[in-house]
Point group: C2
Chain length 692, copies 2
């Protein structure tokens, strides 16, 4: 348990300093200012007191037990200090000091040293090279951190893989008037991991929403396991940075880790029901809505405005974000007509006009709250000087307190002149924004989350008609032979074992055998050279397509044998399936995350238009359908210009079987069925590749 | 000239009120508070003074001349009051009152009435139903407006087709500490138009940047003519709202205008060298950079940071926005190594570390300013309590004052605790932002503008080998015949006259003639029924493709004649051109704007992938190339998978000739060459349609 770290009963500062502009002093100030509930023990051999708190020459001089220690001492002194902490019975240490793995081998050795000592005593370490934690729980009030943002108590906890971004989000919250529950940033992450912190927050009853900033995952498997649980308990809003090659490079230069521009983490987050953002500002602004608003039951927005243009902007953005702006029911429109100015706009957006007073706003809100066709409310509120804006704000706050439907407010005002309006809305828990687009995106995030959580993709189907024993045997033999690229016979053997439909095939040792095999398969056929020593078959003239009779097969095989001249040469014959729509099914192992499945239309759709979709295995039937439908060119599979559509069920079946195959045999590093020929009545793989 | 409106020497308020919370009172207060340089004349028959200013019973009692009058009276009183203004010699009127076209026919009649009276006296009208104007020029200080945002003097003027959005932008500027020059919002726009205001601002020496909010254009032609001039004199940042069908509907409900979801306005803005935005927040944030920073000479960013994660985020966003993050030169890296902490990151982003002081920041900035490979600077500046942040801010401000390269700063601080830091940067003219993404997008906007302005697309080529007389004659005859859809002979006649290559064709009256014509064209041919009474040829069996000999042609023509049975039936024969890459070239008239040209790959690329590009005619050779290259599937035209590329010069030639054709003959409402067959060595239109 990380209680000693997040809910310490007492804190010692090893390296406490009398110098005001130092970390060893600031932490003491922060603990005092924030009203830490337990004793604070500055450790300094020379000082009597620091910031008015009695100091001790060493931790052994501290009379009572110590839960948590900060270390703000030179890195070379850390291992011995950790040893002392162990002897004193300290349970957790925040190492603020830098000078470890991030500076090279010497630092890495120090890190190894202190970790071994900590492990011996069962001490948990946050950091090194980290800011620390903050807990606003009134029973704790732990500001174990040297930063400067003093949060109000709230329901959102922040976990960041970068102290800088953590502080950025924290400062954003502070300026928006959003409270924080727990804040943590773990620097070099030598011991306590992001995953462990998330697990802890999952169990923290005071945390309703978790905001997570990630650049990479050290142990994706552990993350995945923990987050399955946490994401079902808490709303999680996440951002993964280092998306671009340049961003990943910038990330690895400061985290010391290996980063790459992959999509695996975003896929995992989606699969876990975690809402992802690509803009840190948008994340903070959405968090303000999540902190106070219920989750809507749909994406239908009622817009109330007292000014025209900003409603146009809001409408554009809401529609861009996938929201609907339905026309109100006739009953609602009639109800509004009795209560608003006659010149008002009664459709949705409802324009109550700039001269609208509190009664007009209230009438419009009441109608929207009662209207079945509306899931959430967007309010544009400009504060004209000739209106009692405080009364309007009071009505918005009152309706918001009903918590019937989520509300966001784009408040267009001068916060100096209308301080009371700002305060009334803030006290009423109304999330307020200063641009219509910002408010619209925050509302859309609530709705996106609702869709993500209400989505039931079912559970992955398990095919029982597969022969996993045969696959195990093929893969076992290939592994013991030291193969990484499987032979055609192995690949197609595996596909057959998992009943993944592929074009009829046979192996042959001689040209004559090849002709005989082709006779059995039926013409036309494709002939391929199959030899461990021939990697680039096409370049070596090792592929002959559309052979229409036995003579052609024999001649092609003879020519191939002469040209390649490898002693281990065999022939792979396969039925030539022309005229279908080419699709691609692939899978690629991501260490710790399982496999990413890929689906796309073949040829230029993949090569030029990059029109592909991804999911993490295992997938369900619904997810397989989503992979197909999310292609930009999905309509091609449904049939266009009079052409028949392709066998969708067949594609779904292949996707599900490939998903099961790579889950059953995680040693498959990569596999491609490329192309799979999709016809109206069948789907068959006509080329396949598998790497261990 | 609109000087009486924007630089009034005296202002009367007709409808001045003693009631503090009224528009007729607020305008007087605003004029006084803002320090208006001329006399203020409240007009009120019952009051002696208002807000301490002597009031007059009527404008005729005012002793001196009056430049500008506000009207804050019931709409039915406006026409007579305008007449009075004419008699008094007033030159401009801001009608704040509502109750005109926006409320129906009665209001529209009042509007017509006052406009006629104003015209008689040469009075210019702003509004009705508008806020008014603000001019911060120290010689004027005119706050002729009832809103509440008091701007600092600045170089940015704001013109908005919505008072609400104008005020939103204005308030955004105020909160970001950006000054304003002139502010105008013209409500119902009965007389003074957005275009006229822009023309005025173009000549205003105090305006450096214009921020423009548009929902629709009343007179696009006038806009286009004026803006050619204005955009060459001023930096213009624009946003067009009502982009979505729903947004356009919301717009028309409050503007009373007809809006549609077209792209013509955005194309026009781009063509004029106006930088467009789709997010009002981003526009305001970019404006902060434009207000103080020079335009960069390229898109290469140097990043300086004292915290890791925010640099990763900034890098991601900069790359997304098309910026480059080049590695520094070896000389620069060496220079930095001598001056920064040894643990710093010396690549780009340069991480000076959280403990960096003013000297470290200065060293990094000096290197970036001197480095040839860097066009602009992005600075992440978090304010650790243990650093002299004021000194760092001072260095950033000092380097910024050099105005050598544009600088933006993502300032991560608590503005209460580090008020001096905020002030130093503000006084130094450093645009500061609170999120890395926001700062990155503002910097990218500067670079986008640089690219837009430095782009030299050349001048449209005029082909002299065209026979415009022949086209004029064909179109004239078609018009006098009352045709809107041109016959095949007319269409191909026009294409030939403009030397737009199309497949060889002939007309024939009988089946025998058709066979003879086909013999001349050469096989295979396409045969089409051509009759004014046959609109949907394909549905009627009026098209036969790939006919390979004379007999097939004759039989197809006979069958067609029998099936269609129209007495005016003729036959259109055309060489069948198979096997090329299908492309589409189209043009569509946009009232007042000329023609929008369209280019795309045929078939599913247009139908399913919507992969098309647009430009406003006339286009230049470079623009034609851009139309081709901006397709997502552009690589298909260059040749993929061993296929040869297509004749790019031929496509460019067709685009240029179509552009010239529709410019020469604006009566062509729509034309499509669909498909055009593009081969490696030639490009020919094989089907064409033209509508008058």
């Amino acid at each position: 348990m990380l209680d000693a770290l997040f809910r310490p009963k007492s804190v010692a500062i090893i390296g406490a300093s009398t110098k005001e502009l130092s970390i060893g002093n600031r932490i003491i100030k922060n603990l005092i200012d924030f009203g830490f509930k337990g004793p604070i023990y500055p450790i300094n051999p020379k000082a009597e007191e620091i910031r008015g708190v009695k100091a001790y020459p060493s931790i052994f001089d501290v009379p009572g037990p110590i839960d948590l220690a900060h270390m703000v001492i030179a890195s070379k002194l850390v291992p011995a200090a950790v040893e002392d902490c162990g002897k004193k019975g300290i349970k957790a240490i925040i190492i603020n000091s830098a000078g470890f793995t991030e500076v090279g081998p010497e630092g890495a050795a120090l890190q190894k040293d202190f970790l071994e000592r900590a492990a011996k005593y069962g001490i948990r370490i946050l950091g090194p090279n980290c800011q620390g934690i903050i807990n606003t729980d009134p029973e704790v009030r732990a500001y174990c951190n040297f930063t400067f943002t003093k949060p109000d108590p709230g329901f959102i906890s922040i976990v960041a893989q970068s102290g800088g971004v953590g502080e950025l989000i924290h400062q954003g919250f502070s300026q928006m008037g959003i409270g924080t529950r727990i804040y943590a940033s773990n620097g070099n992450a030598s011991d306590v991991s992001i995953t462990e912190i998330l697990e802890y927050l999952g169990k923290d009853s005071g945390t309703r929403v978790i905001v997570l900033y990630l650049e990479s995952l050290k142990d994706p498997k552990a993350f995945l396991e923990v987050m399955r649980q946490v994401a079902s308990q808490k709303i999680i809003l996440a951002m993964k940075a280092g998306r671009t090659a340049e961003g990943a490079k910038a990330s690895s230069s400061h985290t010391g880790g290996l980063a790459k521009t992959d999509i695996a983490i975003e896929l995992i987050l989606e699969k876990l029901g975690i809402l992802t953002f690509r803009d840190e500002g948008e994340l903070c602004q959405a968090a303000a809505a999540f902190a106070s608003q219920p989750i809507p039951s749909g994406n239908r927005v009622g817009i109330i405005t007292n000014t025209g243009g900003p409603a146009v902007i809001a409408t554009d953005v809401l529609v861009d974000e996938g929201m609907k702006i339905p026309t109100l029911s006739e009953a609602s429109i009639q109800a509004l007509k009795g209560k608003l100015y006659p010149e008002s706009a009664f459709e949705n957006p409802v324009d109550v006009l700039a001269t609208a007073d509190a009664g007009h706003f209230r009438a419009a809100m009441d109608v929207m709250i009662a209207e079945d066709g509306i899931d959430c409310l967007y309010i544009n509120f400009v504060t004209p000087f000739f209106v009692n804006n405080e009364a309007v704000a009071q009505q918005i706050a009152d309706v918001n307190r009903q918590r019937k439907k989520p509300i966001v407010c784009n408040l267009m005002t001068d916060p100096q002149q209308w301080k009371d309006v700002v305060d009334i809305l803030k006290k009423g828990g109304v999330p307020c924004y200063t641009f219509p687009g910002t408010a619209a995106r925050a509302l859309a995030a609530l709705s996106r989350y609702a869709a993500l959580r209400s989505k039931d993709v079912g559970i992955p189907k398990t095919f029982t008609d597969v022969d996993s024993g045969k696959v195990a045997s093929i893969l076992g033999k290939a592994a013991s032979d030291g193969k990484t690229l499987l032979s055609a016979a192995d690949v197609y053997g595996i596909l057959e074992a998992y009943r993944i439909p592929c074009a009829a095939w046979k192996m042959a040792d001689t040209a004559a055998d090849a002709e005989a095999a082709a006779d059995v398969i039926g013409y036309p056929v494709v002939l391929k050279a199959d030899s461990p020593s021939v990697v680039h078959k096409s370049d070596m003239g090792g592929v002959a397509v559309n052979l229409t009779d036995g003579k052609a097969v024999r001649e092609a095989a003879e020519t191939m044998a002469k040209r390649i001249g490898a002693s281990d040469l065999r022939f792979f014959l396969q039925k030539f399936e022309g005229g279908g729509r080419e699709v691609i099914v692939g899978a690629k192992a991501e260490p710790g995350l399982g496999h990413i499945l890929l689906f796309g239309l073949g040829g230029i759709y993949v090569e030029i238009l990059k029109d592909v979709s991804f999911k993490i295995a295992p997938i369900t039937e619904i997810e397989a359908g989503e992979m197909i439908d999310s292609l930009k060119a999905a309509a091609l599979l449904q049939g266009v210009r009079g052409q028949a559509g392709v066998d969708r069920t067949g594609i779904v079946d292949i996707l599900l079987r490939v998903s099961q195959l790579v889950c059953d045999f995680p040693q498959i590093q990569e596999m491609d069925l490329n192309p799979v020929m999709a016809f109206a009545d069948k789907v068959v793989a006509v080329d396949a590749r598998m790497v261990l």
